[in-house]
Structure formats: structure tokens, C-alpha cells
């Protein structure tokens, strides 16, 4: 059985749109801004730095009723296979993309500080694209368990890239 701290989520949907358009909704700042943020939040800007090791930053502005403050989501990319997959670590950040402890933002204690996310894109037809999002809330890298888990997932993703290259 899972230890309480490891959590895995897999969600997917087939969208009625061509692959290149769906890819752009994740990689074009103007488009990312229009769907990422929570209900009622606005997104005043997004900065996309699409390269391995790069960090994209998406600003989310809370509505006035919640205080109207800006919070920043960062995606630090680990692996990018254009038009096929994105692997990044999601974390809360400052406006420059530097990691911020969620507790410092007043977020609840169970809010994860780092979430490894893998997004895969697959054309089902000329006008349909299957999107699969896998999220792993990792234990902190300081723990022995965390180090082993990270290694396992790195190997998994390296091999996943090989699978995509073959198909």
C-alpha cells in the first residue's frame, strides 16, 4: 500500500482539435494564460521558457473578494519531446520563477511543494488529440525514499522517451 506521502493522479481527455493546436495551448504564453488558472482567477501574464532546464511562470491573480493578490505557478522542464510529451516539476514561485514554500503563501499544510507532471499528446485523428496528464506528488528529495523514487522515475521517463521514439 502507498505510504501516506506518495500520491499518483492520472487524468486524460480526447479533445476535438488537431495535435499541433493542443500542443500550442501548453507552449504558447498567450494560450496558456487562457486556461491554466482556477475559476474566477485572472491570468495577467505567462512567460514560457520552453527548454529542458528552463522554467515557465504563469501568474494567477485572485479575485478582489479573495484579496486580489498574485500567485505564480512555475513549471521547471525536465524533458521535452516536441509534439509528444512535456515533463516538468510544478511548484509555487515568485514572479521570477524561484521556488516558494506554499506555507509562506498561506496555502494549507498538505499543499505539495513539488509535483512532477508528465503530459503526453497523441493524435487520434486529424482533428482529435488525446491528452494524458500524470502527476506525482513526490516526497522531499532529502529523504532516502525520495532519492530512490526520483531515480526510479528518471529511468521511467528516459525509457518512456524511447517508447515514444519507436511508435
Amino acid at each position: 500500500m502507498n505510504t501516506p506521502r506518495t500520491r499518483t493522479l492520472v487524468v486524460s481527455r480526447v479533445f476535438n482539435a488537431p495535435l499541433d493546436l493542443v500542443w500550442r495551448t501548453w507552449t504558447d504564453a498567450e494560450l496558456v494564460m487562457q486556461w491554466w488558472g482556477p475559476d474566477n482567477f485572472t491570468c495577467p501574464f505567462a512567460k514560457i521558457d520552453l527548454r529542458e532546464g528552463g522554467t515557465s511562470v504563469v501568474c494567477m491573480r485572485a479575485p478582489k473578494e479573495y484579496g486580489g493578490q498574485d500567485m505564480f505557478s512555475a513549471w521547471n522542464y525536465r524533458k521535452i519531446v516536441p509534439m509528444k510529451s512535456l515533463e516538468f516539476i510544478q511548484h509555487m514561485a515568485d514572479k521570477d520563477g524561484n521556488r516558494v514554500d506554499p506555507k509562506a503563501l498561506g496555502l494549507p499544510p498538505e499543499f505539495p511543494s513539488d509535483t512532477r507532471t508528465i503530459v503526453t499528446f497523441e493524435a487520434v485523428s486529424a482533428d482529435e488529440t488525446k491528452l494524458v496528464v500524470s502527476q506525482f506528488d513526490m516526497p522531499s528529495a532529502d529523504s532516502v525514499f525520495g532519492k530512490n523514487a526520483e531515480l526510479g522515475l528518471n529511468q521511467s521517463v528516459d525509457k518512456m522517451q524511447a517508447i515514444f521514439a519507436r511508435t
Partner: protein, 110 residues
């Protein structure tokens, strides 16, 4: 077997993603999608069951597999919240995609 060990094998990750999209598949249907042998797939399914990522139900002669809520999308409240969040994001993404498609076709027809 813990979740990360189970998912460190790429074929197992692919099986989990396959079931996320298809819902429920027989062992044979799953095997048919992969180049490896049915015996190898059977071992992967065993490992995934052990890690509580998939569950199996026998129906007549068929062994049917689906994702196991205990392992995937687990931990009650967190899972519900995250699933709802992604559902809303996907809805927003759909609206955006339809808008972009309309814009693209409007540009094409002068």
C-alpha cells in the same frame, strides 16, 4: 511493491495510461497493444496489482483490468480536489480550442 518502483518500468506506465483512457480492458486487449509477450504483460499487471495501481475482476473466462482507486487517484480529499481541478482546466482548454479553431477558419474565409 511501492508505487514508484512499479512505475519505474515504462511498459507499466503505459498500461496505467491506457487504462486511464480506456477504462476497462481484458488482459488480452492490453497485451495486443504491446510488442512484448503476453507472459511479460501478465507479470507487469501482477506488479501493478501488487502496488494497488490496477485491479482485476474475473468475468467468465475474461480477466478485466481497470485502475485501482486505492493507488491511483487515491487519498480521498486530495484526489477529489485534483480531479475536479483538472476537469475544470480541461473544460477551459476545450473552450479555448474551439475558439481558436473558429478564429482560424474565420481567417481562412475572407
Amino acid at each position: 511493491m511501492d508505487v514508484f518502483k512499479a512505475l519505474s518500468v515504462p511498459t507499466r506506465r503505459s498500461i496505467v495510461e491506457l487504462l486511464a483512457v480506456e477504462g476497462e480492458l481484458s488482459a488480452t486487449s492490453i497485451s495486443d497493444r504491446f510488442k512484448t509477450t503476453p507472459q511479460a504483460i501478465s507479470q507487469h499487471l501482477s506488479a501493478l496489482r501488487d502496488a494497488h495501481l490496477v485491479q482485476m475482476q474475473k468475468r467468465g473466462q475474461f480477466r478485466l483490468y481497470r485502475l485501482d482507486p486505492a493507488g491511483v487517484n487515491a487519498c480521498g480529499e486530495w484526489a477529489e480536489k485534483m480531479t475536479r481541478l483538472w476537469s475544470k482546466r480541461f473544460d477551459a482548454l476545450e473552450r479555448l480550442l474551439q475558439k481558436e479553431k473558429r478564429n482560424a477558419s474565420e481567417k481562412r474565409s475572407p
